[in-house]
């Protein structure tokens, strides 16, 4: 276990060295939140509520959604793809650790960095810029933090799985790009899931994606009842367990058929 903690720490320190880049990241996220803030403002117009949600709640939803993303986001899929394409994976395979666990540890290190150096200061700035309503109920705060932990887990697991498919497709840049674009929509980051037509919503309940952004954002903006909070976090837990299966399967098969290109 020790070696993975070292990995977490090392990744954290590496990220810390490049923290300047993340300060501009905060500005970029603020610009994005601003774009959606004005779009929603125009959409709300004179209406007080859309689907039982008022404008301040929607602003909170958008702001927390982007700031949560600044925490759970990582590029582990692209890193794995690069390792495979550059042939580095050959060295990784003979090292005395499990490659997938090591990548997960790195993602954790990045997550810790992103949480303290990007998401928290970012959210403070964003809540000063936009009319964000902070929940007053401690229960919501606690369940929010639990749920973004699962967001991070599920997002990272999806990235691991997508990254590992490089073993089979060799060049899956396109697949990774499609995943990135679609995830913003399917996770509920761009638009809350409850605004989708009912039949689309019912499909989404069988997919892991809304566990990434929709669940924590809804909890934070007070859109979920207590019962629904428990149910959604339960679903997140379930998904984070289920997603281990495809990762293990991909990894097991990959190790058997691996062809190192170059390196």
């Amino acid at each position: 276990m020790d070696k993975y903690f070292v990995m977490i720490r090392m990744r954290f320190l590496t990220m810390l060295a490049y923290r300047m880049e993340y300060y501009t990241g905060i500005i970029i996220y603020s610009i994005n939140i601003g774009a959606y803030y004005f779009l929603w403002k125009a959409i709300y117009g004179s209406q007080g509520e859309i689907g039982n949600v008022d404008f301040v709640q929607m602003t909170t939803y958008v702001a927390i959604g982007w700031m949560a993303r600044s925490f759970y986001y990582n590029n582990i899929d692209r890193e794995i793809a690069a390792d495979i394409q550059e042939g580095k994976v050959a060295i990784e395979l003979i090292r005395p650790y499990d490659y997938v666990l090591m990548k997960t540890a790195q993602a954790f290190g990045e997550g810790v960095f992103r949480f303290f150096c990007f998401a928290v200061p970012g959210f403070i700035i964003v809540s000063l810029l936009f009319p964000v309503h902070l929940p007053s109920d401690p229960f919501l705060w606690v369940s929010f933090f639990v749920s973004i932990f699962f967001s991070f887990l599920i997002f990272t697991q999806i990235n691991l799985a997508v990254g590992l498919t490089t073993f089979f497709f060799y060049n899956n840049r396109g697949f990774m790009r499609a995943k990135r674009i679609l995830l913003d929509l399917l996770s509920g980051l761009l638009i809350p899931i409850y605004l989708f037509p009912a039949w689309v919503q019912s499909i989404f309940t069988f997919l892991p994606f809304q566990s990434i952004s929709y669940v924590p954002s809804m909890i934070f903006s007070g859109g979920f009842t207590t019962e629904l909070v428990y149910l959604s976090i339960g679903k997140q837990l379930l998904w984070s367990v289920i997603l281990i299966v495809p990762i293990m399967l991909l990894w097991k098969t990959a190790k058997k058929i691996v062809v190192v290109q170059g390196g």
Partner: protein, 261 residues
Amino acid sequence: MRYIELFLQYSGQYIKTRLAYRSDVVVGFLFDLLQQVVNLTFIFLVFDYTSSMNGWSRDEVIFIYGYFLIPFSIFMAFFNIWQFNDEYIIKGQMDRVLTRPIHSLYQVLLEKMELESLLGCLTGATIMIFSGFALNISFGIKDMLLFLPFVIGGVLVYGGVFVFLASLAFFTDSKLSIMPMMYNVGNYGRYPIQIYNRAIRFVLTWILPFAFVGSYPASYFLNRTEWVGYALFTPIMGLIVFIISIYFWNYGVKKYRGVGS
């Protein structure tokens, strides 16, 4: 004349290299399309809950979005200078460019062309035509004559802003992340500018005039007479922004000392 010939030569070479990887071009286009579909999904979904966005109907918003993609795609094809600081200043490529017998900016732009981005014009035009039909817009000879200068004006605004930002690399060798920031600000131009508050409208009109890329010229074609003045100002705005940037670029080249071998 020499500049045109060089452009044709470079384009010819570029197309040859891209044709070797045809599937990459197609895949790239499909993902660009996917991105637009995702953005349009947002517009379609929210208009189920409202009939207008600060006075703009769904089809009008989509029309502006589609129009915006045309100058934007042309900009992406010819002003691919995101990595100028890295590739030309830090790696010393600029020294080579300066020995070439044409204007240094033109040389850089030729080398960095990404012609497949022009396919985005098709996406934009398709969106525009469909929403135009839905809105029953008449497109007369006058509109056709204005279309080109409007598009070129928009391209020059975008190109000018980013040439200006690239020129900053001549004065500092530290890494600047202003470009991705501005890229996100530029996205504000995809929607009617009237949805923003007064301060942002002012910035998008007079300081970072991205409103002249999509919002103002498109509202002319939508027969919104309130902003005709702004719309007709588009080509002039483009020229102003671009000329300022060229001056700034030239000044930067004069100050440029290289970073050593």
